[in-house]
C-alpha cells in the first residue's frame, strides 16, 4: 500500500459532503492547541500577485477547471503545478507552451529525476516530471509562482520508494496529465472544423453550454456536436445582413446575447440595462462598454474566452469567441 499512489489515483471527495452528520466533540483547548502553532504573524501573503508573460523556466499553477475549445468544462481533482519548458508558440492565434508537471512528492523520485530542494520558489521542494512533458494552451495556466533555472536542480541519488511504486506514480501522473494536453488536442480538432465556419461562439452558464456557428457556404450538419447549432441566418438561408450574427436567447439566460463579427473584431451586445463587467479570462483585462437603450455593447473584441459578471447574475457567464 502506498499512500501517495492511492491518493493520486483517486478522486478526492469534497470535505463538505462528508462533514454533514459528522459531529466532533470540540473543546476550546483543542482549537487553542492548534492555534498556538500559528501566531497571528505566521502567514503574511502578498497582496499583489505578479502576472508576467509566460516564459520558459517559470512555474505556474493550472486552473482546476477550464472550458475547452468545444465548450466543455474540464475539471481536475488534482490541480497541477507546471514548469514551462519552452517558449510560447503561436498556433493560429493561440499561444501554446510545453510544460512539465511538478510534484511535492519527492519521495516518489527515481534516480534519474530532477529535484529542486529550494523551498522558496514554490513553498516546497519538488520533483520535475521530465517524463511527463505536455503541450498545453497557455490560457489554462492560472497563477505565476516563481522562476527557476538549471542550477536549482540536482539529480536525486537515492531512491526512497520501490520501483513498483515509482512506476505506479508515473503511470498515474501521466494519466492525470491528460487534463493538460486535452486543452491543445481539442483546439487542434476545432481548428480543422473551423475551416467550415466564419466564426463561432461557445456559451456556458449555470452548468449548461451551447455553441453556435456561422457557416461558410452551405452548413454541414454532420460536423455538429450535441450542444452545437448553426446561426438562424445560416439555417434559414437569410439575407447577408444577418450572416455574421449569433444569437443566444436561452430560457436560463438572464438576458439575450448577440455576437457579430467584422473586420475590427467581435461586437458583443447584451440586452440588459444592468451593470455588467466583461473581462478576458486569461489576463483579467476589462473592456469598456457602451450603453444604448437597454443594451450594453462591447466592440472591437479579439477572439478569446470572456467572463461576464454582474451583481444581478447568479453565476458567471463565460463566452468564447472564436
Amino acid at each position: 500500500m502506498n499512500a501517495i499512489v492511492d491518493f493520486l489515483k483517486s478522486q478526492p471527495q469534497d470535505c463538505t459532503s462528508v462533514s454533514s452528520g459528522k459531529h466532533y466533540r470540540i473543546a476550546k483547548s483543542d482549537i487553542n492547541n492548534l492555534m498556538n502553532l500559528f501566531s497571528k504573524d505566521f502567514y503574511k501573503p502578498s497582496s499583489i500577485r505578479l502576472l508576467p508573460s509566460k516564459k520558459k523556466g517559470q512555474i505556474w499553477t493550472v486552473k482546476k477547471e477550464y472550458i475547452d475549445f468545444q465548450g466543455n468544462m474540464q475539471v481536475t481533482q488534482h490541480p497541477p503545478m507546471v514548469l514551462i519548458c519552452s517558449q510560447s508558440e503561436d498556433v493560429e492565434g493561440e499561444q501554446v507552451l510545453r510544460v512539465q508537471p511538478i510534484s511535492p512528492f519527492i519521495e516518489m523520485a527515481g534516480k534519474d529525476d530532477l529535484i529542486c530542494e529550494r523551498q522558496n520558489i514554490t513553498g516546497f521542494p519538488f520533483l520535475v516530471e521530465t517524463w511527463n512533458e505536455q503541450p498545453v494552451m497557455a490560457e489554462i495556466l492560472e497563477h505565476y509562482i516563481g522562476s527557476c533555472d538549471f542550477e536549482d536542480f540536482n539529480e536525486l541519488g537515492s531512491q526512497d520508494s520501490s520501483i513498483e511504486d515509482i512506476e505506479s506514480f508515473r503511470r498515474i501522473e501521466i494519466d492525470n496529465a491528460k487534463f493538460l494536453n486535452h486543452s491543445l488536442l481539442v483546439y487542434l480538432n476545432e481548428l480543422e472544423r473551423s475551416e467550415h465556419f466564419v466564426f463561432s461562439a461557445d456559451l456556458s452558464f449555470n452548468g449548461s453550454k451551447k455553441s453556435v456557428h456561422v457557416a461558410k457556404g452551405q452548413p454541414d450538419f454532420s460536423l455538429l456536436l450535441q450542444h452545437e447549432s448553426y446561426s438562424m441566418a445560416a439555417k434559414s438561408g437569410n439575407s447577408s445582413e444577418e450572416e455574421n450574427l449569433i444569437d443566444f436567447d436561452e430560457p436560463n439566460l438572464p438576458f439575450k446575447i448577440q455576437i457579430r463579427h467584422n473586420n475590427d473584431g467581435y461586437v458583443l451586445t447584451l440586452h440588459t440595462s444592468e451593470n455588467v463587467k466583461l473581462s478576458l479570462d486569461s489576463t483579467d483585462q476589462s473592456f469598456k462598454a457602451y450603453c444604448v437603450e437597454n443594451r450594453v455593447i462591447f466592440s472591437e473584441l479579439p477572439s478569446g474566452l470572456y467572463r461576464i459578471e454582474g451583481n444581478s447574475l447568479d453565476d458567471i457567464i463565460t463566452i468564447r469567441l472564436k
Binding site: 471527495q13 492555534m35 520501490s162
Partner: protein, 318 residues
C-alpha cells in the same frame, strides 16, 4: 479535502469552531477513503476502528509535523486557491512517512503480507472458491488437484527477506508467491499461501534485537581490551598489582604516596616510579575512542588486576 478558507483561517491564527470541525472532517474523510492504518497515530488504543478522538490526534500530529519540519516556511508562495489541495498533499506525505516508520520498526506484518499476496493472486493467478474456501493455482489444469506436502515448502524454498528500509515488499512477496505456486503441483488454500509466503519473506531479526546487538558489541570490545590488557600486564611485575589497585583504582578518594609507603614498606620514589611506568604502559597499548570507552577499559583492567591479586593470594594460601 481541505477548504482553502479553513486553512487560511488556521494560518492566520483566527480558526473558528466551524473551520476546525471542517478540518477534522476533511482528515476523517481522507482516513476513511484511503483506509489508512490506525497504528500510524501515536497513542494506540485497543480498537481497530478510527474514533473521533483518533482523528483529532492525527490532525494535531499532522499540523505539528508541518511546523516542526518547516513545510510552511514559504507558505505565502502558494496561491490562496491552491492551499487546500497543498495541505491535502502534505497530509498524504505525512501519512506516507508515518507508515514507513511503523513498517521499519515492525518489519513486514502478516496483514500487509496477506494484502499483497491477495492482490498478486487476483491479478496474475487463478482463485477458485471451493466449499467456502479460496484456492489458488497457476492455471486451470491445476485447479482440480490439491497440492501435497505444502507444510514442508518453507524448508526448501528460497527466502526472499523483505527489507523495510528498501521498501521492496511487493517484489519479494511476488517472487515468493511465484516460487510456491510453480513448485506445487495443484491448488493451495489461500490461507496456507499467506502463511508460507510470510515465513519466506519475513526479514531476519536484525535491527529490532537490540539486546543481542549490544551483547555482541560488548563481546567484540572485550576482545580488543583483552589484547591491550595482556600486553600491559606482561610488562608489569604481578607483585605490584595490589599496589597499583590501591593507588590508581582506589574509589575511596586519593591516596598519598606516604600512606602507600607506610602500607607497603616501599619508598615513595619507587612507588611513584612504578605508577608512572604503568601509566605509560597503558598509553602505549590503548587509545580510548571516547570517555565511555576509556572508563570501560579501566574497569576491565582493574578487574584483571584484581584477578591477579586473588590468584596470588590463593596460591599463597595453598
Amino acid at each position: 479535502m481541505f477548504k482553502d478558507n479553513d486553512i487560511l483561517e488556521l494560518l492566520s491564527g483566527n480558526l473558528s469552531e466551524e473551520s476546525y470541525i471542517n478540518i477534522l472532517s476533511a482528515v476523517g474523510s481522507m482516513v476513511n477513503r484511503y483506509n489508512w492504518p490506525k497504528e500510524i497515530i501515536i497513542s494506540r488504543n485497543q480498537s481497530d476502528r478510527w474514533e473521533d478522538e483518533d482523528i483529532k490526534e492525527l490532525a494535531h500530529n499532522y499540523f505539528e509535523w508541518l511546523v516542526v519540519n518547516n513545510k510552511l516556511k514559504y507558505i505565502e508562495n502558494i496561491p490562496r486557491n491552491y492551499i487546500g489541495y497543498y495541505f491535502a498533499q502534505m497530509l498524504v506525505s505525512f501519512i506516507s512517512d508515518r507508515i514507513k516508520e511503523e513498517q521499519s520498526k515492525a518489519g513486514l506484518s502478516f496483514r500487509q503480507c496477506k494484502e499483497i499476496v491477495f492482490n498478486i493472486c487476483r491479478e496474475d493467478f487463478i482463485i477458485n472458491d471451493i466449499n467456502n474456501e479460496s484456492y489458488v493455482c497457476v492455471d486451470e489444469s491445476s485447479s482440480f488437484k490439491l497440492a501435497k506436502d505444502i507444510d514442508e515448502l518453507p524448508k526448501y524454498l528460497t527466502k526472499h527477506s523483505v527489507d523495510p528500509i528498501k521498501n521492496n515488499a511487493k517484489s519479494m512477496i511476488r517472487l515468493a508467491v511465484e516460487d510456491v505456486l510453480n513448485t506445487i503441483n495443484g491448488s493451495i488454500p489461500i490461507s496456507k499461501l499467506y502463511e508460507i509466503v510470510y515465513m519466506l519473506c519475513r526479514a531476519e531479526a536484525k535491527t529490532t534485537d537490540v539486546d543481542s546487538i549490544q551483547y555482541k558489541e560488548e563481546e567484540e570490545t572485550d576482545c580488543d581490551y583483552y589484547e591491550s590488557i595482556q600486553k600491559i600486564v606482561s610488562e608489569m611485575n604481578t607483585a605490584d598489582a595490589p599496589i597499583i589497585l590501591d593507588y590508581l583504582f582506589q574509589d575511596k578518594g586519593k591516596v598519598s604516596l606516604s600512606e602507600m609507603e607506610e602500607k607497603y614498606k616501599i619508598p615513595r620514589s619507587t612507588i611513584h616510579y612504578k605508577m608512572e611506568a604503568f601509566r605509560q604502559s597503558i598509553g602505549r597499548y590503548f587509545r580510548p575512542e571516547s570517555d565511555e570507552d576509556g572508563i570501560k577499559f579501566l574497569k576491565k583492567l582493574a578487574s584483571t588486576l584484581d584477578e591477579i591479586v586473588n590468584a596470588e593470594y590463593n596460591e599463597s594460601e595453598q
